[in-house]
């Protein structure tokens, strides 16, 4: 089998006596939306953090677009096209929504050792940022301070910032965390529209979202992947039902 866009082999991470990541193998094919689900405490965020470079694995290797990125620090991975959103909203609270996204655009517009031109009025940065905000549906909140946005809007802003970096692969850590039903629906529709043009790894609890968006699902329990397959395969898998889905309502 040829290597996927993201290829994880025998990833291991321990915190003291706790093996948070216990030998994970995963292939993410270019163009697919791959969901990672699992009960609380399964180690999902730890896993995503190792993929994005925020955490150093103890063992195993990660390959992205053919290159070994296991030891590459987070900023370098981001510039290679591996972008991440955070489960707990992490935006620039004292910048406007527009400038939040403009910064993401700037991060991928070459080096930033430019000391004179006013970046706030730089069309090369602000133009694309405006466009992304429009796509995400935050156009009328452009000039609002990010800290003053509603929670759901902040989650949208998180995704907007990931998009603005023109990623090859998006790591979305519970994009719908803390959202109400209506907001979640809108987010699911939005992510659905992104599916065609982007490769996504999606960590989510919301089963509705997972089954609607995912092409394939991997189930993470106690730091190990116990099953990978299409939504139908996973739904039918006995082990998965016992370990996870069986504990959830429907």
């Amino acid at each position: 089998m040829s290597e996927g866009l993201l290829s994880v082999r025998q990833l291991v991470k321990s915190f003291g006596a706790l093996r948070a990541t216990d030998g994970i193998d995963l292939e993410v094919i270019e163009g697919e939306t791959h969901a990672v689900i699992g009960p609380n405490g399964a180690g999902k965020t730890t896993f995503i953090s190792q993929l994005s470079g925020n955490l150093r694995p103890d063992g195993g290797r990660i390959r992205f677009a053919g290159d070994d990125v296991t030891a590459l620090p987070a900023p370098r991975r981001a510039r290679k096209g591996l972008a991440r959103s955070f489960q707990i909203t992490s935006i620039y609270k004292d910048f406007s929504a527009l400038h939040n996204v403009a910064l993401a655009v700037q991060a991928h517009a070459g080096h930033s050792f430019r000391f004179w031109r006013d970046a706030r009025r730089d069309e090369a940065l602000v133009g694309p940022a405006r466009q992304v905000l429009e796509d995400v549906g935050l156009k009328d909140k452009m000039h609002v301070l990010a800290g003053n946005l509603a929670h759901g809007e902040q989650r949208q802003l998180e995704v907007a910032m990931v998009l603005a970096t023109r990623p090859r692969l998006m790591l979305l850590d519970e994009p719908m965390a803390g959202m109400g039903i209506e907001e979640s629906q809108r987010m699911i529709e939005f992510l659905s529209a992104l599916k065609r043009r982007h490769t996504m790894v999606l960590v989510e609890h919301d089963m509705d979202a997972v089954f609607r968006l995912a092409d394939r699902i991997s189930v993470l329990v106690y730091g190990r992947i116990i099953a990978t397959g299409t939504p139908e395969e996973i739904r039918a898998n006995q082990e998965v039902r016992a370990a996870y889905l069986g504990e959830e309502a429907g």
Partner: protein, 309 residues
């Protein structure tokens, strides 16, 4: 935005008008006083770049004030009184020192960074004290003021205007920097470091560059300061001086262009007034500073306009 330009113009005009007014009133002392304040305002503005905008709590910034002053003093000692040369050396030496200190310190963060920057500046202080040939602890007289050719620094008023122009230029330069792409990265990294790394900014090179720029600018302030005091001592680099610079930045309002200038004026004028009351003025200033930190952190610039977004 327009209103800020108006305020700055008014301030510049007021400052430019001071010497003739002061001299007409027979009070040349004020020319000296405001000149000193403006020099330290340049130093405070340079600190604001890394502290206010960058979030780097550097407690050793006075080191560069000292390096700049000593560059002028030492060169003059050996007969090199060309101001252009001296000031270029002052800026360069400070930049190199900032590069060396920053390269080590910026790898750390939080409380470590505070202590390390303080320790390095103290190291330079002790270096100054141990160099007997340049006066050691007592310091040395400046042999002659920097010769600039087009102006004469021995004339208090000409020196004043040179300082005023340099202060306005420094403030303007920092204003451009903090709003440029470089400045945006610096401010973003201060606002949310994990987010910055996640979108692809590695903080270290930008912080180091800002540290060097701030050091170089403070070195220029040091060159001016040595000329102003005519006497160069290691105390220019003391932790006390660093603390004073920090207070100027905070009192004025961090992350604002006018903040450091307002802060320098407020702090030094307050010192001046208290010194007039009692020789033990620090016993009053100390608690005042403590109270200002506890109750009044937004700074003076917050009164005039909202801080830069």
């Amino acid at each position: 935005m327009k209103s800020r330009l108006v305020l700055w113009t008014l301030a510049a005009v007021a400052l430019a008008a001071l010497p003739p007014v002061a001299l007409a009133l027979g009070e040349p002392f004020y020319v000296d006083l405001v000149r000193r304040i403006m020099i330290l305002a340049i130093a405070a503005a340079s600190l604001n770049l890394i502290l206010g905008y960058g979030g780097l709590i550097s407690f050793g910034h006075a080191a560069y004030l000292g390096i700049g002053a000593y560059a002028v003093g030492i060169l003059a000692f050996y007969g090199f009184t060309n101001g252009w040369l001296q000031w270029a050396v002052a800026i360069l030496a400070s930049a190199v020192a900032a590069l060396a200190i920053g390269a080590v310190s910026i790898r750390t963060s939080g409380i470590y960074f505070i202590m390390i920057t303080l320790a390095f500046s103290q190291m330079l202080y002790y270096l100054g004290v141990s160099l007997e040939v340049y006066g050691g602890d007592d310091g040395m007289r400046l042999k002659a003021r920097s010769q600039l050719g087009i102006v004469d620094l021995n004339d208090p008023v000409q020196f004043y205007y040179v300082t005023l122009v340099l202060m306005l230029l420094a403030v303007f330069l920092i204003y451009r920097i903090v709003n440029s792409r470089f400045g945006m990265v610096l401010r973003a990294t201060k606002s949310n470091e994990p987010r910055s790394r996640a979108i692809g900014f590695a903080p270290y090179p930008y912080r180091l560059a800002a540290f060097v720029i701030a050091g170089a600018l403070c070195g220029l302030a040091g060159a001016l300061y040595g000329n102003h005091t005519n006497y160069i001592t290691p105390s220019f680099m003391s932790w006390h001086q660093s603390g004073e610079l920090m207070f100027m930045v905070i009192l004025g309002g961090m992350a604002s262009t006018a903040g450091p200038v307002l802060g320098a004026f407020a702090y030094l004028l307050l010192e001046e007034i208290l010194e007039g009351w009692t020789e033990h003025w620090q016993v009053i200033l100390g608690p005042l500073l403590v109270l200002s930190v506890i109750f009044f952190r937004r700074g003076l610039a917050g009164i005039f306009y909202k801080p830069d977004a």
